[in-house]
């Protein structure tokens, strides 16, 4: 039996559609329904229709604040470290060394983030870097279980996700453009600002987005390096589902987190579009 175009299209869309329906739409719908419910007598979920869970959100303000501050901060810090590295590897370094240096960036990524974060517990703990600083006479430092420790863990853990998109966009850079700029009398810094940087922006945008979205849902790094003192929304969520077993409130918080992320990401996209438009205007001049 021959399939019509229309039938074939539905057949081809089927697997992906089913995937989205079962693994994205359905779970989100469940979470949304639960968020209007109540905590069961022994914990868990009990059907109801109430906005009480959303009304209680303010009590978790610190977790939202921590997330909304440390996620962008971590993204920017990762960018500031990843960009020069990517620039150096893609543009500056002798191609003979490039592969080796790239491998050195990739290899730590093969180890589980859990193990790498665990290593930081020892490095930032009293017998690690603080002991070294004290020996050098640089005073008494407490690093572990602080926002700084979490930030270090974030930058270290997510740096490769920032590095690669930037590296790829810089690697494609056409050297002739830089030569042309130079021929036209542009000093190197100006060539960088007007040629290299704008051409690498898509990589920066992709990397930042990847890191930022993952950081908004981060749980592991604050759990390991924050000692219960630097709490993200992800950590508050885990507590609500495991320790206090309040699935309804946990769901309301998940819905809120998703909403906050959608807003932030939309604003970010708009911002990128405006930059893109501005660049075209400049190009026309």
């Amino acid at each position: 039996m021959a399939l019509s175009n229309r039938q074939a299209r539905w057949l081809l869309l089927g697997p992906a559609g089913l995937w989205y329906a079962m693994l994205l739409v359905l779970p989100l719908a469940v979470v949304l329904v639960y968020s209007f419910g109540e905590r069961g007598a022994a914990g868990g979920y009990q059907p109801a229709f109430t906005l009480a869970q959303y009304a209680n959100l303010a009590t978790r303000w610190t977790a939202f604040k921590n997330t909304l501050m440390l996620a962008p901060l971590g993204t920017v810090a990762a960018l500031l470290i990843a960009y020069p590295l990517a620039y150096f590897l893609a543009v500056r370094v002798n191609p003979r060394w490039r592969t080796l240096l790239l491998v050195l960036v990739i290899v730590p990524f093969w180890t589980s983030i859990l193990i790498r974060s665990y290593a930081w517990i020892f490095l930032l703990g009293g017998r690690g870097i603080p002991a070294l600083l004290a020996d050098l006479g640089l005073g008494d430092w407490r690093l572990i279980n602080t926002p700084f420790a979490v930030l270090v863990g974030i930058v270290y853990g997510y740096m490769p996700l920032m590095f690669f998109p930037i590296y790829v966009s810089l690697e494609k850079l056409d050297r002739k453009l830089l030569e042309a700029a130079s021929d036209l009398g542009s000093p190197p810094w100006r060539s960088f600002v007007q040629v290299t940087l704008p051409l690498s922006l898509p990589g920066v945008a992709t990397g930042s987005m990847l890191v930022f979205i993952l950081l908004m849902g981060e749980y592991l790094i604050p759990q390991m390096l924050g000692g219960g003192k630097v709490f993200f929304v992800g950590n508050a969520l885990v507590d609500l589902f495991l320790q206090s077993r309040n699935w309804a409130f946990g769901s309301a918080m998940s819905v809120t987190l998703v909403a906050v992320m959608l807003v932030v990401v939309t604003l970010y996209m708009r911002f990128l579009k405006r930059i893109g438009a501005a660049r075209e205007d400049v190009g026309l001049m």
Binding site: A42, G43, G125, G228, K229, Q243, S244, N246
Partner: protein, 373 residues
């Protein structure tokens, strides 16, 4: 290197008593990681109990040598999952799919587990090493619900505090002292359990209220205290030994056995009960109704209830075992140890945890708020 030696070294490394270099050196791990996978024993179905028994338990609670001996005997490896609170253990089992065969639960949770049909009555014909008469009634009592035995005591203990005596001007002996010194000389050096029962319970004791209070007014005061001390804490965690051992923390809420283990290795760390009171408790072996390997669970329980094996457990975990047959095997030193067996007047002020604290929504929410603050 023997498997037991390896586990001992791994434990020492984990607790920070030896360096990473020492650990990799003595275990040969530095060179031989790849070989290990091939050399793991693969004995199948020696007694028809499968090759794995999964147990939900607590940090530093089970002697790895005993568990290795069980594997040598039966071919079943014991997979250990450690928790920080009964609430979390309960939640994972309640959500389903945990896959545990044995659960080590605390006295105040047993009736709720039974009510929710999450654990099953024990079949004593499969536990010849169990002797009801040998167990101390006040610790074994909560294991029986409606005349049926659901749980067998593993050990009992108290919840006090461990502190570095070289750092404290005076020895600590009260929950008032605990929370006060945390806000002054010990700022940034104190650990509070990641566990509603003890974190909130001991804060209640600061004001002289019952450890088990669910009175909203009293709980509000406890919450205020907890949130006030939070900026002064080193951490909120139930796995506090590593930080105490490496000197990051000077004071922690502490269970008997951890206090004993810390004091054994570092005599300057002292264990004390709050004179206002606090918690006395017993932990039980139970078998979940959802256990995937019921036969394995019974085999493991029966093995651990063997007084000789159980005595080795006691030497490892440093808690008293409420089984007179095990107590008889202990040295006088252990039997008279002030950490394991506190003075009668200190003990009499302590309370067993109450079932209501496990399900009270207010306590659950206060704990979550304290952590998210």
């Amino acid at each position: 290197m023997k498997k037991t030696d390896f586990m001992r070294e791994l434990r020492r490394y984990h607790k920070g008593s030896v360096s990473r270099r020492h650990f990799l050196g003595v275990t040969g791990l530095g060179a031989a990681t790849a070989v290990m996978a091939g050399s793991l024993p693969m004995r199948a179905f020696a007694q028809g109990i499968g090759d794995r028994v999964s147990m939900a338990t607590w940090p530093n609670y089970d002697d790895p040598d005993n568990l290795a001996a069980f594997q040598d005997k039966t071919g079943a490896a014991v997979q250990v999952n450690v928790f920080g609170s009964n609430e979390e253990m309960f939640a994972k089992l309640q959500a389903g799919g945990a896959g545990w065969d044995v659960v080590v639960a605390t006295n105040y949770t047993i009736s709720t587990y039974v009510g929710a049909k999450m654990i099953e009555p024990l079949d004593l014909s499969k536990l010849p090493n169990y002797d009801a008469a040998a167990f101390e009634a006040r610790f074994a009592g909560p294991g029986t619900v409606d005349g049926k035995l659901y749980a067998i005591p593993k050990l009992w203990g108290t919840t006090g505090m461990a502190f570095d005596s070289t750092r404290a001007a005076q020895p600590l002996d009260s929950w008032k002292g605990f929370f006060d010194i945390t806000r002054t000389e010990f700022s940034g050096r104190t650990i509070i359990h990641d566990y509603q029962l003890t974190a909130i319970g001991n804060a209640l004791k600061y004001f002289g209220y019952s450890f088990n209070s669910v009175d909203p007014k009293e709980l509000a005061e406890a919450e205020k205290l907890l949130i006030e001390v939070k900026p002064h804490l080193f951490a909120i965690t139930s796995d506090y030994q590593p930080a105490m051992r490496n000197g990051d923390a000077w004071l922690t809420m502490c269970w008997t056995g951890d206090g004993k283990q810390l004091n054994r290795d570092m005599p300057e760390i002292h264990y004390a009960l709050g004179k206002e009171g606090g918690e006395i408790w017993s932990d039980f072996y139970c078998i979940p109704t959802s256990a995937p390997n019921r036969e394995g669970a019974y085999a493991l329980l029966n093995f651990l209830l063997d007084p000789q094996v159980n005595a080795r457990e006691a030497l490892f975990h440093g808690y008293p075992v409420p089984d007179s047959r095990v107590e008889a095997l202990m040295s006088d030193e252990m039997r008279n140890d002030p950490i394991l067996h506190p003075a009668a007047d200190l003990l009499s002020a302590l309370e067993f945890g109450a079932a209501v604290t496990l399900t009270d929504p207010n306590r659950a929410e206060i704990m979550a708020r304290f952590k998210a603050a």
